[in-house]
Symmetry: C2
Subunit: 374 residues, 2 copies
């Protein structure tokens, strides 16, 4: 809120003086010694912005939001690496999501039915794979992605182009409430900032900045999502795109991105395989932990020889695993025939979960083998 | 037709003895000296296949077909480079097409409406760009590609998995007649060979073998077109694929190919830009020649100052070119407003032709500049 102080200088001063507070406590000569021009040094030391800051504090408290400085351990680690990380992030919701492995999903505000469907499906599958879906809560693809992530029981991060206490577009009021409860809303814009159009391109660098990569679902050739993809590439983030019919205007952008080197995504795993080995290991470990925890919770009153009687999808995963072999593929049909009392869709869900956990590999012809882990 | 004589040995013997005739004139000891085993040497010298060969000659004459040996100057130059070029090609139609720049187009026999549409559109545009579309005259994508190529006034090559005097599938009788007249039918299988299923994978290597590259339009993950793409890659041919919705089973194959490195094709130019510079130059020269020839034919009774009154699309190309500048982009709207008496679709067609000829470049926002050629 200090006049004349830009994002990059602010972060540099915090680096020099260690904390934001120390920057404001510094004298004009100390600031000038740190390379700040006399005008800006006066602006910082004047304390003119303090009144506004007090108002901000009140608004933060009212909205149940917090401000996280670049020196805060909760500040997203990947966001620090971009050219111009915001010195302060306003956050409302589950702040711990900031250091999860996140994937940005962006696309047009006017998707086709195809775009909405695949955005939802991929957001759900990526959430199941342990990734946190990040988007901008705009109409269209963003909304579909957040919704599906929440439905899959995941946290999701919405990066706003306005204050985290604002709702834009207004039709997403309910979704915003749900994200603030089960997910996280963040913004670098102060509380009460309206959704100025110029804020959105600025906001987009945060979506890619906190993410391992950005997935573009639908968009025209010169769309906002194409810009986000460009930013992501400049930030050294992986760019993913969902192809579509060349007769569809809305698939022109993603198809062009693929032509330019973006990774083509047919299913969730096309994203996961491109992640760094350590990130893939983290996801697999998360997934295994989840399976074990659930299995233990259910199996408490049962001994392990009775697991085939276990109830629910977690028990099913374990049962399915028992029917698989590390040396010979077993077909889905065989599993359906031999797992009495378990529906095909439960078996498919279990196989999916086991594949995510790195315990099972799918082979051609809908057959599966167990992966030997020692 | 010689028992025990395979494709590769046949071609090697022709290389050694210079002509197919010389191979049959050779003695057993000469053949054995050339590395042929005693059994095969006897089979070659026995002349047992000669009766069949006479029947073949008759059938060739009846069908108006010719046999082209690997030593014939008309034999496709690129086909000689593959691992196992056929020693003899049977051909019916415009044999001169064999040494045109050709592009293979393959896809499923059961396409969606999308697949049929884009196969037709791309075949037409690639034909207009001066490429000869080659396919297998199967149901579906192949048929759509041949039809569109013929409608665009181009020659098209159909590679049969049966004799060139056979029709398969029978519903394509009329199309086959048209191809034999305006295009070319070829096969390595002797006259009267039925369409045995095992012939088709063998045939596919010819489609890719005579082509600069192969474009896959629709197909499942383990489809015949995926096999053709694999063959093409092994033959060092460029592999192209048209993306499609990930929810469409028929786009799974092409999308997977793109993931594996095939070039994504949104429009004809995505094929042309990947060709070798000398092939691109040949296409551009062809196209310029075609334009000049047509312009001259029309302009005969007019002097060049009157070209804006010229009639027909060729005249339009010249008029459009006069309205373009090498230094400042001109919009399509400007052209439509200023070229009285010329319909927008004629102007678009002219711009398209000029772009193909390398005389015009399209810039973002439907604007165009003239390319300076000195």
């Amino acid at each position: 809120m200090t006049a004349g102080l830009g994002t990059r200088t602010a972060v540099q001063l915090i680096e020099i003086f260690q904390t934001p507070e120390a920057v404001f406590r510094a004298s004009r000569s100390e600031l000038e010694a740190a390379g700040v021009g006399p005008g800006l040094a006066q602006s910082i030391t004047s304390g003119c912005a303090f009144e506004d800051a007090v108002t901000q504090q009140q608004k933060l408290a009212e909205a149940g939001a917090v401000a996280i400085s670049v020196k805060d351990p909760r500040y997203p680690i990947r966001l620090k690496d971009i050219f111009d990380p915001p010195p302060l992030l306003f956050a409302r919701g589950r702040v711990e999501l900031l250091n999860e492995l996140t994937i940005g999903m962006v696309g047009t505000r006017r998707p086709t039915a195809y775009g909405t469907t695949v955005a939802g499906r991929l957001a759900k599958d990526l959430t199941c794979a342990g990734l946190t879906v990040t988007s901008g809560m705009a109409r269209g693809i963003d909304t579909a992605a957040h919704r599906a992530a929440l439905e899959a029981g995941g946290g999701t991060i919405a990066v706003f182009g306005c204050g985290v206490d604002q709702i834009y577009p207004s039709e997403n009021r309910k979704l915003a409430e749900q994200i603030a409860r089960d997910g996280l809303i963040i913004s670098e814009f102060p509380m009460a900032t309206p959704p100025y159009p110029q804020n959105f391109p600025i906001r987009n660098r945060i979506i890619s900045g906190i993410s391992l990569g950005v997935l573009v679902v639908e968009g025209g050739q010169y769309s906002g999502s194409a810009i986000t993809a460009k930013l992501a590439a400049e930030q050294n983030r992986e760019v993913f795109a969902v192809p579509g019919n060349i007769t569809s205007k809305m698939s022109w952008g993603p198809n062009l991105l693929i032509k330019q080197g973006a990774k083509l995504v047919q299913e969730w795993n096309d994203v996961v395989v491109e992640l760094k080995p350590e990130d893939r290991r983290t996801l697999a470990a998360q997934c295994r932990n989840r399976l074990n925890l659930k299995d233990n919770a259910i199996g408490e009153s049962k001994d392990s020889s009775q697991t085939s009687l276990a109830y629910g999808p977690e028990g099913t995963s374990r049962t399915v695993l028992q029917h698989l072999k590390p040396d010979a593929p077993v077909t889905l049909d065989y599993l359906v025939e031999n797992l009495n009392g378990t529906s095909p869709s439960e078996i498919i869900a279990a196989l999916f979960e086991l594949e995510l956990a790195g315990l099972v590999r799918q082979l051609p012809g809908k057959s599966f083998i167990k992966i030997w882990i020692d």
